[in-house]
């Protein structure tokens, strides 16, 4: 069964009088528990595609289904609620809250998004901090962590709400190669351990080989779909 389904999705941006087509007639189906990568050069439409799947943006035409829900016409509030319940995000710049410790950053979506009771939170947070190997750094603020450590915290934050799908836009772009590889391995491990679907974008050919399915984008079109043997 497909977790993500895009039917004839196009996205246009208006730049003054000029209309730029970022995505053209995209047809994708992504099954649950898969580990998918979007690759392509800058401007190929990777981020736009992730934004549409992540209910952060709306398509100009076509339909986007996530978890069997048509997400095209969500209001801001409904989209936020849907993201909070079903999706996790990992960002290129980590985007941790600088005023919160690693523990509190992972706790944030449980308090501010899902409103989980305090007694249930601690166990869950420590479980994910352990899983990403950062439990010993839990009381440090983001400014006291390295790039790789920050991204591990971000992975824990994305997973702590038990989302069906985690979207990661260039999660390794700001990391050195060793750290980048470790993060992709970690995401892969998490996908196996927690049966979570991961979709990430990258233009690093070494990293991309870790994915099960690779979609290659160029000029807003899917040029190739490659299934890598496990």
């Amino acid at each position: 069964m497909s977790l993500v389904q895009l039917k004839q999705v196009s996205k246009n941006y208006q730049m003054g009088e000029l209309s730029v087509q970022a995505l053209k007639d995209i047809e994708i189906e992504i099954a649950e528990q898969s580990f998918v990568s979007f690759v392509g050069p800058s401007g190929s439409g990777k981020t736009t595609l992730l934004n549409l799947i992540g209910c952060l943006d709306k398509p100009s035409s076509g339909d986007v289904f996530v978890n069997s829900t048509l997400v095209n016409n969500f209001s801001n509030k409904a989209a936020a609620q849907f993201r909070g319940e079903h999706l996790g995000f990992i960002f290129q710049n980590f985007n941790l809250l600088p005023v919160l410790t690693a523990y509190e950053n992972v706790e944030y979506p449980l308090i501010m998004v899902q409103n989980i009771a305090a007694n249930k939170r601690k166990e869950r947070i420590m479980h994910y901090l352990d899983a990403v190997g950062i439990a010993d750094q839990k009381d440090k603020f983001p400014s006291q962590l390295s790039g790789g450590q920050k991204q591990r915290v971000a992975v824990a934050r994305a997973l702590v709400t038990d989302p069906k799908l985690v979207l990661a836009d260039e999660p390794t772009a700001n990391l050195d190669h060793a750290s980048a590889f470790k993060i992709i391995e970690l995401m892969r491990q998490m996908q196996r351990d927690f049966k979570t679907t991961f979709i990430f974008s990258t233009h690093d050919p070494k990293i991309v080989k870790e994915a099960e399915i690779i979609y290659t984008l160029e000029d807003g079109k899917i040029e190739d779909k490659e299934i890598i043997a496990a």
């Binding site: 936020a80 909070g84 996790g88 005023v99 501010m112």
Partner: protein, 417 residues
């Protein structure tokens, strides 16, 4: 909500210098308002107190139409014995709010030292009643007054300092008063100067005092007649309420034309100082408006900068599912916390400053009254009102930046560098 405030406080501490500067600006504003209010309100109260306690009383009753021709000191608008009895009954009935009252006859006369003559305005009083209604009156008398309740005796006159100097009069000198009674006939009375009195604003004015029984002889008043009642209240803060209460009850007394027989005025209606008091109030309001402007502009500025600097952060928390309403509250809580912290510190410093001013014992003079100790004070209600103003304005000024943050599209915010 606890977590929203935790994040808000930490965000304030994140930009320590900026928060400190903004907070300092608000604190200075609050301290200024508290000190200005504390000093000016105390000054105003002392001034009003000296006017009401040494001259006017808090309220005055006259026969209807008297105040409009008060400069002529008319005697045909005297209150007769029947009216006095009605007033006695009314004023005694309200002894829960009225501390004392004094009956007066005010009239104009000619004063002669047997060589020169000048005009004088006289207030004839029963000294015990007058001292109870205006206890600071004796403070204006130059020289010692052995018994304030007998500050003027029959056969004596207290003359104003100006006239004493002009006619070269001193205590125990003989003078003659000549006055017209209400029928127009002239009568004279020899009196001895007992004391010299200074006007409330200093050595000016032509107001003297005689005993009410001497006035009745001079003005050939048979029986009991007065033309002014000065009333002292137990609590001056109850002035408006008592004014309304007595006005209603006085309106029940009518004259032969079935019109109100009496008129009631507050000290503010009768004294030009009420304008100065109003200006002091206006200045306090002006200082409060300046404070509002300081809080509004500084918090609006700091919150707008805060939103602008944290666009991608807003995008991230929005992307992970934070509802727009919670983003709104995050920023409002920041402005609110800044307002509350500044208010607490500002109130503490402001009250401490007033305490230090009192400790330093500043003295000043006002007219006859010298060496008045400046006793500053501020009421809890004033502190609460200043605090509420700051906090409400802090929230209002956070609203626009907070709305801007909550309405941001996560996709645009995440793209922001």
């Amino acid at each position: 909500m606890k977590n929203i405030f935790k994040i808000a406080i930490r965000n304030l501490l994140r930009y320590k210098r900026r928060t400190l500067m903004t907070s300092l600006l608000i604190i200075i504003g609050i301290v200024l308002v508290i000190v200005f209010s504390g000093v000016s309100v105390s000054f105003k109260s002392m001034m009003i107190g000296s006017i009401t306690d040494s001259m006017l009383g808090h309220l005055q009753i006259h026969k209807k139409g008297y105040v409009s021709s008060i400069d002529n000191l008319p005697l045909h608008l005297n209150i007769n014995e029947k009216g006095i009895k009605q007033l006695d009954k009314l004023l005694e009935k309200h002894d829960d709010v009225i501390e004392a009252y004094s009956y007066r006859i005010k009239f104009g006369a000619m004063l002669s030292n047997f060589q020169e003559t000048t005009n004088i305005r006289l207030t004839a009083v029963q000294p015990q009643m007058e001292n109870a209604a205006c206890p600071l009156l004796v403070d204006r008398i130059l020289g010692d007054v052995q018994d304030p309740s007998k500050f003027i005796e029959q056969g004596k006159i207290i003359i104003p300092e100006n006239i004493a100097k002009g006619l070269k009069l001193k205590p125990d000198d003989e003078v003659v008063l000549v006055a017209n009674n209400k029928d127009g006939s002239v009568n004279g009375l020899s009196l001895k100067v007992s004391n010299i009195i200074e006007g409330i604003m200093g050595p000016s004015g032509r107001d003297g005092f005689v005993h009410i029984d001497d006035a009745k002889i001079l003005l050939r008043i048979n029986g009991n007649e007065i033309n002014e009642v000065s009333i002292r209240l137990i609590n001056p803060d109850q002035l408006d309420r008592t004014n309304k209460l007595l006005s209603e009850e006085l309106s029940q007394f009518t004259n032969k034309q079935d019109k109100p027989a009496f008129e009631l005025h507050t000290w503010a209606d009768l004294s030009p100082f009420s304008t100065i008091a109003a200006i002091v109030d206006l200045l306090i309001i002006t200082v409060k408006i300046v404070l509002i402007a300081i809080v509004l502009i500084s918090i609006l500025n700091v919150m707008m900068m805060s939103v602008y600097e944290r666009v991608s952060e807003i995008g991230a928390i929005s992307a992970i599912g934070t509802l727009p309403s919670k983003i709104l509250w995050l920023f409002i809580a920041e402005g609110f916390s800044l307002g509350v912290i500044s208010t607490i510190v500002g109130n503490i410093i402001g009250v401490l400053t007033l305490f230090l001013i009192n400790l330093a014992e500043f003295h000043f003079s006002f007219g006859r009254m010298k060496n008045i100790l400046l006793e500053t004070s501020i009421s809890p209600s004033d502190l609460i009102s200043v605090s509420l103003i700051v906090i409400i304005i802090a929230v209002i000024s956070s609203l626009q930046p907070a709305l801007k943050a909550s309405k941001m599209q996560p996709v645009d915010a995440l793209r922001h560098v």
